[in-house]
């Protein structure tokens, strides 16, 4: 455990510490602890939380009793689409951001304009997902009447496609692959800088002597990267992967702004918002939130355990 038990000289009575901790504790209980508990309860109740969820069951229809909201959250068509999309996001965005970030971190380390090159990639982290959504929606812009050759193509991507002799593509409404990947690209554009910065810091921690020794022994750059750099920064890579996994599971703004979850691009977090504020169904919304948490917690626990191990080594 941590070493810093307060020195004996600082014993100050039992009340004072609680004055220091009190306000934060109160806010955390009201705003995080209690609502989390309450959301669990709500997920077993009906739309306006007046009866148990089983009240919404119809005769001759499948029913999971008190778990009725979970039946919706786990088996309904929209939710299955969302699960599929979140899985796609998970695979493509985590692998995309981490590999691009690592690739870029290694390259940027070798040039003199490293700070500028890194700032450019990191820049999207500073702006909102909403802003990023607008930027990319414009890149994906699709002519209102694509069959009329006189209608100008003002979206960058479609301009490239037409310049290469293709026909404009409706990037955001062509499902299920094109539009989901188009959205994931936006996520990669935003988060690569984050991964790159963390991985770059870790790479700088790899002792130069080890790399030099390997090169002197005849290892080429490719081997140095795979056999030395990657194994040495593996703990950091793991952290980045878990952090990105959590970010991906919570992705909301990009989908909400760019497609609103239409055309088969819905994701869990957007579904949760829609159930609550469009369909006014607190029960279903709470059930989806619980599922989201259940998906996130194993990743978090893994992260915490790995962190403990590191602490023990120190």
């Amino acid at each position: 455990m941590k070493k810093s038990a307060a020195p004996a000289i600082m014993r100050q009575g039992q009340l004072l510490p609680w004055i220091f901790v009190g306000p934060a504790l109160a806010i955390l209980i009201i705003y995080v602890a209690y609502p989390t508990f309450n959301t669990f309860l709500l997920s077993f109740q009906n739309a306006d939380s007046t009866q148990l969820a089983s009240a919404a069951c119809q005769p001759d229809q499948p029913c999971w009793g008190i778990l009725e909201n979970y039946r919706y959250a786990l088996t309904s068509k929209v939710m299955l689409t969302s699960f599929r999309n979140n899985a796609l996001w998970l695979i493509l965005m985590v692998s995309g951001t981490v590999s691009l970030g690592l690739f870029y971190a290694v390259l940027a380390d070798r040039v003199r304009y490293e700070p500028l090159a890194k700032a450019i990639i990191f820049l999207p982290m500073a702006i909102s997902f909403v802003g990023a959504g607008v930027i990319w929606k414009f890149v994906y812009a699709y002519p209102i009447n694509p069959n009329d050759p006189n209608v100008p193509v003002i979206g960058l991507l479609n301009a490239i496609v037409t310049a290469l002799g293709g026909k404009p593509v409706a990037w955001l409404s062509t499902g299920p692959w094109v539009n989901n990947i188009a959205l994931i690209v936006v996520g990669i554009w935003i988060w690569t800088g984050f991964c790159m910065t963390i991985l770059s810091a870790a790479l700088k921690g790899v002792p130069a002597e080890i790399l030099e020794a390997a090169r002197v022994d005849g290892a080429n750059e490719w081997m140095v990267f795979w056999k030395i750099m990657v194994p040495m920064i593996m703990p950091t890579i793991t952290v980045v992967i878990t952090t990105m996994t959590i970010n991906v599971l919570k992705v909301f703004d990009i989908v909400y702004v760019m497609t609103g979850g239409n055309y088969g691009t819905d994701v869990i977090a957007n579904r949760m918002y829609m159930e609550m504020y469009q369909h006014q169904d607190a029960g279903r919304s709470a059930a989806i939130a619980v599922i989201l948490v259940l998906a996130i917690i194993p990743v978090m626990l893994y992260n915490v355990r790995r962190f403990r191990e590191q602490e023990a080594i120190r």
Binding site: Y104, V111, S128, F138, M300
Partner: protein
């Protein structure tokens, strides 16, 4: 020999430079498109892609092909006819009137042989070129109109300044006093900017203040259950925002806190706290113990040690944390959507609203989006070091 090695080094690095620059271009191009578009007149935005911003005006190519040979590039080569004369061009209000001249005879000669007539679209382009060259069409290449319109929330067919020049004041909606419209319009980015500031500044200060007190207690005060409580509080970081929205929304509805700044401040405080406590606790805990011991020996109270010692020493950590929290709140959409909505619209809400209700209004959308990015960009470029440190501390440490 040495030179050969050097040359090899330089050549070997070319792929590295190419890869880096290519990726930078891909990363910057979408944002450049947004920036350029936000300064272009609405007609241009809808007629040509933003990368054509410095291209010759529309119709120049057609003019050169069909008209230049006889009329010359300045339009006045044929005696008595100046194609760039506004009086002449204004006669051709539509391109079919211009097309009608093709079959006419001038001085006994056919204007243009029939098999060489420009088609409909080409004629229209030629006319638009003539209107521009003659000064009838005064559209500039760049304009600030989009920003003016976005700031005051004008969404009509012309521009805010044109409407106001005509004196089209709409009581309760448009006074044509720019400052007043900008700061009061419910649909404008000006008011939303102020709202965003009013939300963000307290929502940044409050969690850091509470976290500083708590973090100090966790690192330098002794009390029962300290370790356990700290572990629990930090563990609350795992709870995603979505898990708490519904109950808080219900509580706020019964207390009348929906749509109020106070409600959002407290919500953001609740969510900023676990991370803030964790970060500050790590920082304060790493300060040398002798420092506090000697302060106590000199007779300093806990409060003095906190305000005079701990707080000034943790300024770097507080700066990182402050920037991180500021940008987090400024860029947040979900919380603003749920608790503020349209009653007190912030910038992110306003933009998401523009996207869904105004599909094609790219000139407004790009200007509005850029306005919302202005402050984060300034913060990022001026305080980059603290910004990155704040983000890193939260993730690498676990």
């Amino acid at each position: 020999m040495n030179n050969m090695v050097k040359l090899n080094n330089v050549l070997g690095r070319i792929p590295v430079h190419v890869a880096i620059i290519a990726m930078c271009v891909v990363w910057l191009l979408p944002a450049v498109g947004l920036l350029v578009t936000s300064f272009r007149p609405v007609q241009d935005v809808n007629e040509t892609g933003w990368w054509m911003v410095f291209a010759p005006p529309k119709g120049a190519a057609e003019y050169k092909q069909f008209c230049s040979p006889c009329h010359g590039s300045n339009g006045s080569k044929v005696a008595g006819v100046n194609l760039f004369d506004p009086d002449l061009v204004s006669k051709y209000r539509r391109s079919m009137y211009l097309a009608a001249t093709f079959s006419k005879e001038f001085d006994g000669k056919v204007h243009i042989e029939k098999d060489q007539w420009p088609n409909e679209q080409q004629t229209a382009n030629i006319l638009s070129y003539l209107r521009r060259e003659s000064g009838l069409d005064t559209r500039p290449r760049f304009t600030l109109s989009n920003y003016v319109d976005a700031l005051v929330g004008y969404r009509g067919r012309e521009t805010y300044r044109e409407e106001c020049a005509k004196g089209n004041i709409i009581p309760g909606e448009r006074t044509c006093n720019f400052i007043k419209d900008m700061t009061t319009s419910q649909t404008g980015m000006g008011r939303a900017f102020i709202n965003s500031l009013l939300v963000t500044i307290p929502a940044t200060i409050l969690p850091i203040l509470f976290a500083a007190f708590a973090a100090y207690a966790f690192s330098w005060l002794d009390f029962h259950g300290r370790q356990v409580l700290f572990a629990i509080l930090v563990g609350l970081q795992v709870v995603p925002l979505q898990m708490t929205l519904i109950p808080i929304y219900k509580i706020y509805t019964s207390l009348g806190l929906n749509g109020t700044f106070l409600g959002v401040w407290l919500f953001h405080t609740g969510f900023g706290l676990p991370y803030a406590i964790y970060l500050l606790r790590n920082f304060l805990g790493a300060l040398p113990r002798d420092l506090f011991e000697s302060a106590y020996l000199d007779g300093a109270s806990v409060w003095t040690a906190f305000f005079r010692l701990a707080i000034p020493l943790s300024v770097p950590a507080i700066a990182s944390l402050g920037i991180f929290q500021f940008l987090w709140v400024w860029n947040d959409l979900l919380v603003a959507l749920v608790f503020l909505g349209g009653t007190t619209p912030v910038m992110t809400y306003q933009i998401s609203n523009l996207v869904t209700s105004l599909g094609g209004g790219w000139h407004l959308l790009t200007a509005a989006a850029f306005l919302s990015m202005l402050l984060p960009m300034i913060v990022f470029f001026s305080l980059q070091r603290y910004f990155i440190r704040g983000i890193l501390a939260g993730s690498v440490k676990g």
